[in-house]
Amino acid sequence: MTVLIGQLFTGVSIGAVLLLIALGLALTFGQMGVINMAHGEFIMAGAYTTYVLQQVITAAGWSLLVALPVAFVVAGTMGVLLEVLLIRRLYARPLDTLLVTWGVSLILQQLARDVFGSPNVQTRAPELLTGNIALPGGITVANNRLFILALAGGAVVALTLALRLTRLGRRIRAVVQNRDLAAVSGIATARVDRTTFFIGSGLAGIAGVALTLLGPIGPTMGTNLIIDAFLVVVVGGIGQLKGTVIVAFALGVLQASGEYLTTLSVAKVMVFVAIVAFLQWRPQGMFTLRTRSLA
């Protein structure tokens, strides 16, 4: 029983990590149809931001807190630059965005290697987050995992509220549903696109900060994450935050149970097989967006 609950928590915490890395992508890929392969490198940028800040602010707790908004802005700015310089020229050619952003991701990796060196670096976690909460029955809940769970939850709530309640959110939704109609209604679609990209990329930066609590920070960390992020978004249903959330946790729990019953490598295969089977059954993903656009 203890093991079961422990594994469930592991699954949920893997889900929280998946959710954090996929959330920004759900916005840029899901809502704008842009396949951004450099999203993983924005996560990396967030992680390195934490590392750099820790050189300046030596108290681990403070540097982590400061890193959250700073990483959001750093990654967000990189996203806007990418959007302005390259992606906006390719909105009509989604497959080309894949190639271009893949090239950008390679450049960013090399840049990270040149600046920070090819060996991975670590940050010190605040003492509070290295411990755990012991529940009755010998169950322990790791503090860093709880923090990530809270962070993911917070990001989802903030994003949902922003999309539902703010003027900007309404504009984003309008552009998603029918770009042309939104444009003739007086919405500056180019500006909305830029803002969306800022938020989506900024969320990747936040994910990067969270990941420093779990493992090493390196130039190639983004490559390992981008596939998982795409899986979550595609299976969840493009443009659907609800789907992203559900699928992230479902895959997390599936991965954790698979790992427990078999091995890590086999569990990864199981997850892939499950995804392929699911997409055979529902190619459009778990949820679909009803739009009036012809595309």
Binding site: Q7, S13, S118, Q122, G131, N132, G215, P216, Y260
Partner: protein, 414 residues
């Protein structure tokens, strides 16, 4: 129109492929004709040796320190008059963490630079890649890193530990501490899988139970489930053969799960002083490692080595086992050459048996039959200062036994 142009491009591409294939065949024949071995160029008052390490890519972090230690040894020998009256001239090549590149650079060092010996390689994959090159050219490689054993080559000297000098003593230490059950965690490739085969055979013969065995892909950073399994299995100790970055994620997760060196110690065989520094002492304090050398190993030879290394590369640079083995390998080669009285590879090999050197780790002796060296095994504990302090040693150098022939329980292996 497009179709025709397409065809033309296709034809052009095929011509290129054909040309490349022909060129490849051509080079193969030349190699075949000259496989007699290339003797080193010792006509001048210097002798060249090759340094083959990854200076870029994922392995650079570890291999650069090995290169530094080799360079230090060469400088020491040169300032003491060189080898057979000739100064050593190092020729460095970058293996770039890429195994085919290692093979290519080895070939270049042997045939173009005509070096008398090559020092280097770290991963088993790079060693396996260069092995045929050294055997074909009858040239010498000194390999300085602990490895999974079950290998022997007439043209390789292994100056790191083989399994009976590191893993088996590590197990013996755990047994002496009263450990009855083990959990095995490793990276998913040749070294951990081979090591774990040996550990399971040992455990079976010594009344220990292996409660579980888990592998994570190299570079994997998700250890939630493995830690849960380890924790619920409740083993007396964990034997860790994870390599590289995964160790960071594993030890972070281990600590978050409330596991410590006091509740369930982890013995690692791939974490040395350099790695301790980068993983973070707070995650590793009190955990165990099995090696043959630590920076804290007592003795005049080590004090001299550590002082010389820090003077040359910086006071904050730790020394580690593979570095020490690399440093020792240059001195051993010098002793072999001087005993043989020539740089000729076959004569040097014949002279090797019984060569000794007062190494930082203590006295080491070359075993001519296996071309490994007798080394003292040491188990150490990571301290708050990031250094590793010895808690046990084998008392005397252990004769290398790469195929574990002298261990009855290892009968079914290899």
């Amino acid at each position: 129109m497009t179709l025709i142009r397409g065809r033309r491009i296709l034809a052009g591409a095929m011509t290129l492929v054909a040309a490349a294939a022909l060129a490849a065949c051509g080079s193969k024949t030349t190699d075949g004709n000259t496989s007699a071995g290339v003797s080193a160029d010792v006509s001048g008052d210097t002798v060249k040796v090759g340094l083959l390490n990854s200076l870029s890519g994922t392995m650079a972090i570890s291999e650069v320190t090995v290169r530094d230690a080799i360079t230090l040894a060469i400088e020491e020998i040169n300032s003491a008059g060189g080898v057979l009256g000739k100064k050593i001239q190092p020729v460095g090549e970058d293996g770039a963490s890429d195994w085919p590149t290692f093979a290519e650079k080895a070939e270049k060092l042997i045939r173009e630079d005509r070096v008398a010996a090559v020092f280097g390689c770290w991963t088993s994959a790079s060693r396996k890649a260069v092995k045929p090159v050294f055997e074909k050219n009858k040239a010498l490689l000194f390999y300085p890193v602990q490895y999974e054993g079950l290998e022997q080559s007439p043209y390789i000297f292994y100056t790191g530990a083989t399994t009976n000098q590191q893993i088996v003593p590590g197990l013996e230490y755990l047994k002496a501490q009263g450990a009855k059950s083990l959990y095995l965690v490793g990276s998913d490739y040749v070294f951990p899988r081979t090591a774990n085969k040996i550990i399971k055979a040992y455990a079976e013969a010594n009344g220990m139970t292996v409660l579980g065995e888990d592998y994570a892909p190299l570079g994997s950073t998700e250890f939630g489930t493995i830690t849960n399994k380890v924790k619920s299995a409740g083993a007396d100790a964990v034997f860790n053969t994870l390599n590289g970055d995964s160790n960071v994620a594993f030890f972070k997760e281990y600590k978050s799960a409330g596991l410590t060196a006091a509740t369930m110690p982890v013995v690692s065989v791939s974490i040395a002083e350099e790695e301790v520094k980068s993983i973070g002492t707070q995650y590793l304090e009190g955990q165990l490692t099995a090696w043959n050398y630590y920076q804290t190993t007592p003795g005049a030879a080590n004090e001299k080595f550590v002082a010389a290394y820090k003077a040359k590369y910086g006071a904050d640079k730790p020394t580690s086992d593979p570095m020490e083995a690399a440093y020792v390998s240059v001195h051993l080669w010098k002793a072999m050459v001087e005993k043989a009285g020539t740089f000729d590879v076959e004569k040097v090999r014949e002279a090797a048996d019984g060569i000794t050197f007062e190494a930082p780790e203590g006295l080491v002796t070359v075993d001519g039959a296996t071309q490994h060296i007798a080394k003292t095994a040491r188990v150490g504990k990571v301290g708050a200062d990031g250094l590793i302090a010895e808690v046990w040693n084998s008392g005397q150098p252990i004769t290398p036994d790469p195929y574990l022939k002298s261990y009855p329980w290892a009968g079914g292996l290899s």
